[in-house]
């Protein structure tokens, strides 16, 4: 009774691995990609049923956006359902996609975009700075491992079908919060390690030299970077502020801070 065979699922996996975002656009984001990814399966499932095929394609060309690695779970589950009930229960499929894409984006971006990258690439970069190119292998190895996880996700999604939706949704909140805790710890740690600015302001009074940066570090190490981050965080909370504008604010700040000596005539 299984209409899809192993090869179909695997084909969908490969398309998802590479092409989900080729057609990314502001209107439907990953919508075009989604339809391309599932196409090999759709062709199999609805080969005798033009009406269903057209309905399915319309659905899958719609707005979709989530974290790429997590998308495999959704697409897998989608195929599982469509294999059993076709497009009969369209609401179930739309519900699955739109219901999960939000929370999955949250967890997935936190883990795969924020944390994974911060760790792997900071190690690789420090190794590169000390002249070793071997560190460049780290992201490659990590990437292959993630591809493997994405493969597993596809099959888990496909096999569990809707069961996944309800079960994952239950655990999602706890997982998201766990990921947030991990994420915030890393974010806090990033400040002293990637914002390497230190105030270049020394003030001579008679024989004594006041090093403002030393004094700030005596209060709290990396105080200056912390303040700049908190300032940026606060700015981002303002209406009319966005990350691109923030960049210009920070460049202006850099122009100022980089010329303190000139400004104060020291």
């Amino acid at each position: 009774m299984n209409k899809l065979d192993k090869k179909d699922i695997n084909k969908v996996y490969w398309r998802n691995l590479f092409g989900l975002q080729w057609g990314w656009n502001y209107e439907r984001m990953q919508g075009l990609g989604y339809s391309w990814v599932v196409m090999p399966a759709l062709k199999k499932l609805y080969k005798d049923d033009k009406v269903a095929m057209s309905k399915a394609l319309k659905t899958h060309l719609g707005f979709f956006n989530t974290s790429q690695p997590m998308s495999h779970l959704i697409i897998g589950a989608d195929l599982g359902i469509e294999e059993k009930t076709g497009m009969e229960d369209e609401m179930a499929i739309v519900g699955l996609k739109t219901g999960l894409m939000g929370p999955f984006a949250g967890v997935g971006d936190t883990i795969f975009l924020a944390i994974y990258r911060a760790i792997i690439f900071s190690i690789a970069s420090y190794m590169a700075l000390s002249g070793s190119t071997i560190g460049l292998l780290l992201p490659i190895i990590g990437g292959v491992m993630i591809a493997w996880v994405r493969y597993k996700f596809t099959w888990i999604g496909y096999r569990q079908g809707t069961k996944l939706v309800t079960e994952f949704a239950d655990q999602m909140k706890t997982l998201t919060e766990g990921a947030s805790i991990l994420g915030l710890t890393v974010v806090g740690a990033l400040i002293p390690s990637v914002v390497n600015y230190s105030l270049d302001l020394k003030y001579k009074m008679g024989k004594v030299t006041l090093d403002i940066n030393d004094m700030m570090n005596q209060v709290l190490p990396s105080l200056a970077p912390l303040l700049i981050v908190l300032f940026s965080y606060w700015l981002l909370g303002k209406k009319k502020m966005n990350s691109t504008r923030l960049i210009f604010v920070l460049i202006a700040l850099g122009m100022l801070l980089g010329n303190l000596k000139r400004i104060f005539g020291l």
């Binding site: 990314w24 656009n25 339809s35 394609l57 924020a114 190690i123 710890t185 740690a189 920070l250 980089g258």
Partner: protein
């Protein structure tokens, strides 16, 4: 020194692979680190490339494109910064200084690509209605062109006129401006971090943010991001432990949930 046309071609191929990597597997080529390293390798000064790339990478660790947001194109920045540094022969720092504004400038081309693809999306809708599934598929594939063009064009133009650009920079841009750019580069990573802070529930979990900061601020050279991540993982584990205990405690007055569960494969025969 002008850049040979062959080198420019190879770098254009690389940057195309890079942007495709960025929107799919994110294996590595999409990163400023690789951008610097590979440009350096191709142009015969790997060391400069590694330094420009690694420094830029560390500066942008927190910058990622969440929810389709556009961020500066530091990959292209890294490639061109490295190239200019090698052309000018002025060392890695010069390249880093240029990479930042280049990355910023190219924010716009990324946006153009993402807009252009709205066109293929609509074509696909059209073909879908006609029932021409082949062409629907082709639409997504065509989507790669805007992505690739948005990277190739600036790189090609930038490198073809490389020598002139460098002379302009060297003679017209005042040192205070370069100093300012340098400092801007040092504080720009704050943006990536601030975005992450907005993105994560910091008001609720400020405690963990403090932990991370304190560990790294006081731990200094002896500590690392991986160390912080391990601690974060441990704390997340404790959180989940308590969160799930609480739930069952409420439901079932917590009787069986916190047994020390020992799977079969846990048993160990410690004997002869």
């Amino acid at each position: 020194m002008t850049v040979p046309i062959g080198v420019i071609a190879v770098l254009c191929v690389y940057i195309s692979l890079g942007v495709l990597d960025q929107i799919s597997m994110q294996l590595g080529p999409y990163s400023p680190l690789f951008g610097g390293a590979i440009t350096g390798l191709i142009m015969g000064d790997l060391k400069t490339g590694l330094i420009v790339g690694a420094t830029l990478q560390l500066m942008t660790l927190g910058v990622a494109t969440f929810g389709g947001a556009t961020v500066p194109d530091f990959l292209t920045g890294s490639v061109m910064g490295t190239a200019y540094a090698i052309i000018a022969g002025k060392g890695a720092e010069y390249g880093i200084g240029l990479a930042v504004p280049i990355g910023l400038l190219l924010t716009q081309t990324d946006i153009l690509a993402r807009m252009a693809n709205t066109f293929v999306q609509h074509r696909a809708d059209h073909y879908a209605e006609l029932g021409d599934y082949k062409k629907v598929e082709r639409c997504n594939v065509y989507g790669v062109f805007p992505w690739i063009l948005s990277r190739i064009i600036p790189v090609a133009i930038g490198l073809i006129f490389g020598q002139s650009v460098v002379s302009v920079i060297n003679s017209f841009i005042p040192t205070w401006f370069m100093d300012g750019l340098k400092t801007a580069g040092l504080i720009l990573p704050a943006m990536g971090i601030a975005i992450l802070m907005r993105y994560l529930p910091i008001k609720k979990y400020f405690s963990f943010f403090i932990f991370g900061f304190v560990m790294m601020a006081y731990g200094g050279k002896n500590f690392s991001i991986l160390g912080a991540a391990l601690v974060g993982l441990a704390m997340a584990g404790i959180y989940v432990l308590f969160a799930s205990k609480k739930k069952s405690a409420v439901v079932a007055t917590g009787n069986e949930d916190d047994d020390i569960e020992v799977d079969d494969d846990d048993e160990v025969e410690i004997d002869e």
